[in-house]
């Protein structure tokens, strides 16, 4: 009898625990009893920007010093960066307000003010601001007169058809800001009008300012689509699961309306996988009937195998799928682009447009590749699929 092997390293399991709104003390203590490689852990939390959240959780159970000085330093740096980013956001909003430019806070910034207690509680790498299409170029130019600048060597033409203008930076490349004029790149297959974000947007008061944020239902939809489609469920996992848990815990969602939106917008499978992973790993209270309504037409056996694959891909690790092509096929099997009405649209087409060099998928074409390389990849892929059958997943316990 073959034994099971964990899908995730002890470090990844500990970081995953912090995606829950209130991870249980017992789970955290149990995770700490595993053989944690603190260098590995620090590398992972740096990658996920999870240092301050992890330190707070460890401190809560009296284990704040267990991560040593490096964890504390990483956490402090992270908080300092978030405070500065928040300051830059406020300055930007003030500039736009003075010039009559309406702004809607997307992704991290919007979530920070709606799903989390404070801005710094939602670590992020950049600020994403949605403006009306007619204002985008003006907003972008205006910021370049107020301390923001383009990175050297940016090819502006690559942003044609993209949903945001070339990113702007401050203080070297420390702080990044993107002006969006749409929610998704033009290749996207979803039936979702950016205008509906504006229609249902909400106002939040922050330090004397009225900030505009998306409705929680649209935020959850965007979190799901961004993770499952734009990132192919292989990137931004920690913040996605945490965002889902935080948004759902706030309890302002009308699930019937959410399911209707997910189905009508062709995002049912994207929402299913993101929410299923969020429920399993972050303890997000997603009702059974919601998952049932969004579920692709597969048996539980298939769903579990795919779930194991996505769990193995949550964080960078040797346990990830070794083949880009197999990763894409498993993604397509889960999302079911044809069944979902996506036509030929795939997230890697955006990557291909973006990449100065051909994307891995294109380079993996069999044309001209040595036979042995192909055989080696097939064997690695087969071994990976076999391993999936024996993988065990951590489960959130309250």
């Amino acid at each position: 009898m073959l034994g099971s092997s964990p899908a995730l390293s002890p470090e990844a399991e500990l970081v995953l625990l912090t995606t829950a709104v209130r991870p249980s003390d017992a789970s955290l203590r149990e995770a700490l009893r595993s053989e944690i490689d603190w260098n590995e852990l620090n590398a992972l939390i740096r990658y996920e920007r999870a240092a301050s959240v992890l330190l707070r959780q460890l401190d809560r159970i009296g284990s704040g010093n267990q991560g040593g000085q490096e964890l504390r330093q990483l956490a402090t740096m992270s908080v300092m960066q978030m405070l500065r980013l928040e300051q830059l956001l406020h300055q930007t909003i003030d500039i736009f307000t003075q010039h009559g430019i309406q702004t809607l806070l997307l992704k991290g910034a919007g979530l920070a003010y709606t799903a989390y207690p404070s801005f710094a509680d939602r670590p992020m790498g950049d600020i994403d601001l949605l403006v009306r299409p007619g204002d985008a170029r003006r907003a972008w130019s205006l910021l370049q007169k107020h301390g923001w600048s383009l990175a050297e060597g940016v090819e502006a033409e690559r942003f044609t058809g993209h949903h945001h203008l070339p990113p702007l930076f401050q203080e070297g490349r420390t702080f990044r800001l993107e002006i969006h004029d749409a929610l998704l790149p033009e290749e996207h297959p979803f039936q979702f009008a950016t205008e509906s974000l504006w229609t249902r947007s909400l106002k939040v008061a922050v330090k004397g300012r009225q900030l505009t944020v998306p409705d929680p239902m649209h935020q959850l939809w965007h979190v799901c689509v961004h993770f499952a489609w734009s990132h192919g469920m292989t990137w931004g996992s920690w913040r996605t699961l945490r965002d889902c848990a935080a948004l759902i815990e706030r309890g302002r969602l009308d699930w019937a309306e959410f399911v209707r939106l997910a189905k009508e917008s062709r995002a049912a499978t994207c929402c299913f996988w993101t929410l299923r992973l969020a429920r399993r790993f972050a303890g997000a209270p997603v009702p059974d009937h919601v998952l049932k309504s969004l579920r692709p037409p597969y048996s539980e056996y298939i769903v579990q195998r795919l779930e194991r694959h996505f769990a193995s891909s949550l964080f960078p690790s040797e346990k990830r799928c070794p083949s880009v092509r197999l990763t894409q096929r498993l993604w397509a099997m889960a999302i079911l682009p044809g069944w979902s009405g996506h036509g030929a649209a795939r997230h890697w087409h955006v990557t291909e447009r973006w990449s100065a060099t051909p994307a891995p998928a294109a380079s993996e074409s069999s044309k001209g590749r040595p036979l042995m390389d192909t055989v080696r990849k097939m064997i690695a892929g087969g071994a990976y699929l076999f391993r999936l059958g024996r993988v065990s997943l951590p489960v959130y316990s309250a």
Partner: protein, 102 residues
């Protein structure tokens, strides 16, 4: 509200509140502050963090003194001196606003 700067007038009857010109975050028993005016970061230890928590909403200095003295079991007179000194530092850095209490 007074302008921050020379805050020798701050007394136990004053009302203090966190300024809008700052952003802050707690971190494992400590607080990190960033002044919008000076772009300077400040770190607060546990007791200072508790005072910061109290000034998030307008509060009388004497109430802060009483809360800190009670929670940390310290002499009221000494507590008052320390609290007032600390609040004056915050006011001088523009991190809190001070108004005269009635």
């Amino acid at each position: 509200m007074s302008s921050p700067g020379d805050n020798g007038y701050l007394s136990t009857s004053s009302i203090v509140a966190a300024s809008k010109d700052q952003v802050s975050s707690d971190l494992a028993g400590e607080t990190i502050l960033l002044s919008m005016q000076t772009a300077m970061y400040y770190g607060l230890d546990e007791v200072a963090s508790r005072i910061w928590e109290l000034v998030r909403a307008p509060i009388r200095v004497s109430e802060i003194r009483d809360a800190i003295a009670r929670e940390y079991d310290v002499d009221l007179e000494r507590c008052e001196a320390d609290v007032v000194k600390f609040l004056r530092e915050l006011a001088a850095k523009g991190l809190i606003e001070v108004s005269a209490g009635t």
